[in-house]
Every structure is written in structure tokens, then in C-alpha cells.
């Protein structure tokens, strides 16, 4: 019985963590679907989102559960401008150039933050932090994680609705499915790609804001999330945002179970193993079709 409850606890924790992964992965999948590039700066954008939320909290006393909105707006703008100013001019050049650019921009963000705020670890203090929701005598869910989960769920659903049911979302999917035909519909491909990049990066920024209450903050905190987001995109079927969301939840659960049975240090290794197995055995992904 003891073992059952510890496993159940790990699974529930995994779903909570996974909801934030899902948001990060959906953002990356949107970008990948519409632009066919892997955004290697994704985790760095998320990290910037954490810092924005942190500064809003420290500077203006804004609770992170509202501050993430500021983070989303800032990152949307940053992503939009990054696309317009840097990525767009090299669109059409080799994939390698585009990979280098996102990778390099991620490093600049990380180093820039380190220069501005130092490499120290930060953590914020909310009265909420120690609170738990107890379910029976064996299971307890951490309050800030629960709130983050609820918000992530809502925003994930909103993003899904946006992509599937609005004209702009439809245009983004049109570009993903047939890049050649999209302009013939009157779609301004550059504009939609810039907006998609901004929205994808804003999703990472939201996740960063929601992670702030439960995570240490330091300049390289985003690095592991770039890898995770990439794993989710591959697992989810290369550009399917609902696939990436599912993959995020699965990743959260698998990591938590791995930590429970094998120890924390194995969690990232397991991500890698999943990633490589899917890539070699089922490159079209598990949870989605090829396209957005």
C-alpha cells in the first residue's frame, strides 16, 4: 500500500510538472511547425520569462501568478523582434545557419542576464509555498504547483483553441502544411511567422513565470528546458501542438517516477533515452501526426 501511494504521489506530481512542460513544448512545436526550425533559444527565452516575473515581484511586489502576464507580453515582443530583426534576414539560408542563430541568441540571453543580475541563485518567498492540499492521509499536492497547473491548463487550452479555431491560427497551420500555397491565400507569411514566433516564445515565458515560485532562478536554468522542449516536439510528432502537450505530461510523469525509483540524477538521462528511442524507432512521433 505504501508503495502504491508513493507511486501515485509521483504520478500526480508528474502531471503538475508536466503541465508546465506542456506549455513550453507547445510553444516550441508551434515555432517548429510554422517555421521548420528548432528554436535552440527556447529555454533561454523561458529563463528570461522567469527573470521578468522575478523582477516584477521584487520591484513592484507583483505576485508571480499575475506577473507571468507581464512575462508573456515581454517575451512576445522579444520573440517578435528577434524574428523580424535577426531570423527573418537569414530565412531561406541553410538550416545550419538558423540553428546557429537561435543557439547563439540563447547564449547571448543567458550571458546577458548573468552580466546584469549575476550568477547567484534566487528564490522568491510566497506565504503559499509551504501550503499543501492533502488528499487522504497519504497524498499531498503542493499549493503553488497546483495553482501553476491550473493556469497552465487554461492557457494551454487557450493556445490550442487559438491555433485550431482562429483565422490567424489557421494561417499558421496553413504555412506549416503547405508553405508554397499559403501566400496564394493572401497570407502574409512573414507576418504570421513573426507572430507565431512571438506567441511560441511567450508560452515559454508564461511557463517560466509559473515555475518561479517552485524553482531556483539562475541564468542557465533554461538550458535543460530547451532539451526537454525538443524531446516533446519529437515525441509529439514534429510540430503537432497537442502532441507536444501530451508529450509534456508524459515527460513529467516519467521523470517523477524515475526520480522515485532510481534517483533524481537519472531524470534527464531518461529524457534522452526516450528522445533517442523515439527518433530512431518512430520518427513521426507518438502522440501526433506530422503536422500542426
Amino acid at each position: 500500500m505504501e508503495r502504491f501511494f508513493s507511486a501515485l504521489q509521483a504520478i500526480l506530481n508528474g502531471v503538475l510538472t508536466g503541465s508546465l512542460y506542456a506549455l513550453i513544448g507547445m510553444g516550441m512545436a508551434l515555432i517548429f511547425g510554422v517555421m521548420r526550425i528548432v528554436n535552440f533559444a527556447h529555454g533561454a527565452f523561458m529563463m528570461v520569462g522567469m527573470y521578468v516575473t522575478y523582477l516584477l515581484f521584487q520591484g513592484a511586489g507583483l505576485n508571480p501568478y499575475f506577473g507571468f502576464i507581464g512575462s508573456a507580453m515581454f517575451l512576445f515582443l522579444l520573440g517578435y523582434l528577434f524574428y523580424r530583426g535577426l531570423l527573418k534576414p537569414i530565412r531561406g539560408r541553410s538550416d545550419f545557419m538558423q540553428i546557429l542563430l537561435t543557439l547563439g541568441f540563447g547564449l547571448i540571453l543567458t550571458d546577458g542576464i548573468q552580466l546584469l543580475f549575476g550568477a547567484d541563485y534566487h528564490q522568491i518567498n510566497l506565504p503559499l509555498l509551504g501550503k499543501n492540499l492533502r488528499l487522504g492521509s497519504q497524498i499531498s499536492l503542493n499549493a503553488p504547483w497546483l495553482i501553476s497547473f491550473g493556469i497552465a491548463l487554461m492557457l494551454g487550452a487557450l493556445l490550442y483553441f487559438f491555433v485550431m479555431h482562429t483565422m490567424l491560427g489557421r494561417a499558421a497551420r496553413a504555412i506549416a502544411q503547405n508553405r508554397y500555397a499559403a501566400p496564394l491565400m493572401g497570407i502574409n507569411v512573414d507576418r504570421v511567422q513573426a507572430l507565431s514566433f512571438g506567441i511560441g516564445v511567450a508560452a515559454a515565458g508564461v511557463a517560466g513565470g509559473l515555475l518561479l515560485p517552485v524553482f531556483y532562478l539562475y541564468p542557465t536554468v533554461g538550458d535543460q528546458f530547451t532539451l526537454k522542449a525538443f524531446v516533446m516536439v519529437v515525441l509529439g510528432g514534429m510540430g503537432s501542438i497537442q502532441g507536444a502537450a501530451m508529450a509534456g505530461l508524459v515527460l513529467g510523469v516519467v521523470e517523477n517516477l524515475t526520480s522515485l525509483y532510481w534517483g533524481n540524477e537519472w531524470a534527464l538521462a531518461v529524457d534522452f533515452v526516450i528522445f533517442l528511442s523515439v527518433l530512431s524507432l518512430r520518427p513521426s512521433g507518438i502522440f501526433g501526426s506530422q503536422r500542426v
Binding site: R170, A171, A174, N178, P183, L184, M185, G186, I187, R291
Partner: protein, 238 residues
């Protein structure tokens, strides 16, 4: 004669070092159906792509409604009233018929009337109405061509560019497609058609041009072209 709706004047176009079009000059008048015929690689598709802004002319101008559109991006050209049904249909394969049509009405001018125009298209292509929820990629070739045409008409164009709509279709379906194109023409939409199916193409057309190796070598009334010695020998195998 009325002022032409579309004029290309001395258009040349290149892909890298390769020159695909030389001095293409043609006119399409309001209400006409005009067909471009020519062998594989003659430059028919390139001509349409220059008109819709996908390829920039190296020299020459493209005038639509009296204004030079050769430097305007493709999405604005659609807004001005030119819709292009590309070779091989180019649908959005993982979207339903309905969503493909909705994207046809993406431009600001057409979007507010999306519901009505979609109903119109479903009246015009009843088969598509039955298949409105089906993914476009799973339709038959003929149905896909109908979707491609309906999608272009959703933008309520003044000029419709059609690139080999009969390609790869069974004879009975080809007949059906040409009948639809004729009706589109009758409804007041001007049509510039590219066809290798010379007889069917010209028989629904008012006029035609023959393109060979990137040059217009012959032009005239559709009936005259069908009777022309060179056309009969080169394109009809007679």
C-alpha cells in the same frame, strides 16, 4: 475594345542563371477566358507565378486594373483580386474541405462574407458539401481540384489563374472540371488558364497564346488556334 484587366508587358524571368521567360507580352480582357498552351517546361507556370507575385520579373511589367503589380507581394495581389490555383492543387492536406475554403477567404475583403461565399461554393460544388468535414488530403484527385478552385473563388477574385486543372484526372472528371470553369467564366470572373489538354482548354476559351521555350510564338482566337497548322501538328498530333 475595353481596357485589358491584365497586361504583361515584355516580361522576362529567371531562376538563377536559367532564363525561363523572354519578353512575354499578353493581355486578358474583362470577362474573357484565355488559355496558355505549350509543352512541358515552356514557361506556362512561370508566367502565372510572375502574375501572382511568387516570381519577380527580371524586366517588364505586370499591370492589373491599370496598376503595376510586379513589385507587390503575393498576399496583396490576392487582395487586389487575382487568385491563383496552382499546379498540383496544393491544398492544405491535414485540414478539412471547410477549413481549406475558409483560408481562401483569409484576405480582409473576403473574410466578413465567409459564410455566404462558402454556401455559394457548396451550391456550386455539391460534392464538396457532402465532404465538407473530410481532410483534403484524403479526397480524390477530381475532388481536390474542385476544392482548389472553390478555395480560390472564396477570395472573390476578378481574375482567376488556373494551372493545369485537368492534370492527372480521368476523362469524365476532366469534362466536369472544364464545365465548371466555363460556368465560372460565365459568372463574370475573368480566367487565365494554362492547359496541356489543348482541345478542351481552347474549346472553352475566347483566345489563346502558345508558349514555346519561354517565348510567345503564336496567339489568336481560340477557334483559329485550333485550326492552326502548327498547333495541330505540335500539340494535337494531327
Amino acid at each position: 475594345m475595353t481596357a485589358p484587366l491584365l497586361t504583361t508587358d515584355g516580361v522576362s524571368a529567371t531562376y538563377g542563371d536559367f532564363q525561363a521567360l523572354f519578353d512575354i507580352t499578353l493581355q486578358v480582357h474583362p470577362g474573357e477566358i484565355v488559355t496558355l498552351i505549350g509543352a512541358n517546361g515552356a514557361g506556362k507556370t512561370t508566367t502565372l507565378r510572375v502574375i501572382s507575385g511568387l516570381v519577380r520579373p527580371k524586366s517588364g511589367t505586370v499591370c492589373f486594373l491599370g496598376e503595376d503589380i510586379s513589385k507587390i507581394p503575393p498576399d496583396e495581389i490576392v487582395e487586389r483580386g487575382v487568385s491563383h490555383v496552382p499546379e498540383a492543387r496544393q491544398l492544405f492536406p491535414y485540414m478539412s474541405v471547410e477549413e481549406n475554403l475558409a483560408l481562401g477567404a483569409y484576405i480582409g475583403r473576403a473574410r466578413p462574407k465567409l459564410k455566404e461565399t462558402m454556401d455559394e461554393q457548396f451550391d456550386f460544388f455539391p460534392r464538396l458539401k457532402e465532404r465538407r468535414k473530410q481532410l483534403a488530403g484524403t479526397l480524390s484527385g477530381g475532388e481536390q481540384q474542385m476544392v482548389a478552385i472553390a478555395r480560390a473563388l472564396m477570395a472573390q477574385p476578378k481574375l482567376l489563374l488556373l494551372d493545369e486543372p485537368s492534370l492527372g484526372l480521368a476523362p469524365k472528371v476532366v469534362e466536369e472540371v472544364f464545365e465548371k470553369i466555363r460556368q465560372v467564366g460565365n459568372s463574370g470572373v475573368t480566367v487565365l488558364l494554362v492547359e496541356q489538354n489543348v482541345v478542351d482548354g481552347l474549346s472553352i476559351s475566347d483566345r489563346g497564346y502558345v508558349v514555346e521555350n519561354g517565348v510567345i510564338t503564336l496567339q489568336g482566337k481560340a477557334k483559329e488556334l485550333l485550326a492552326n497548322e502548327h498547333v495541330r501538328a505540335a500539340y494535337l498530333g494531327l
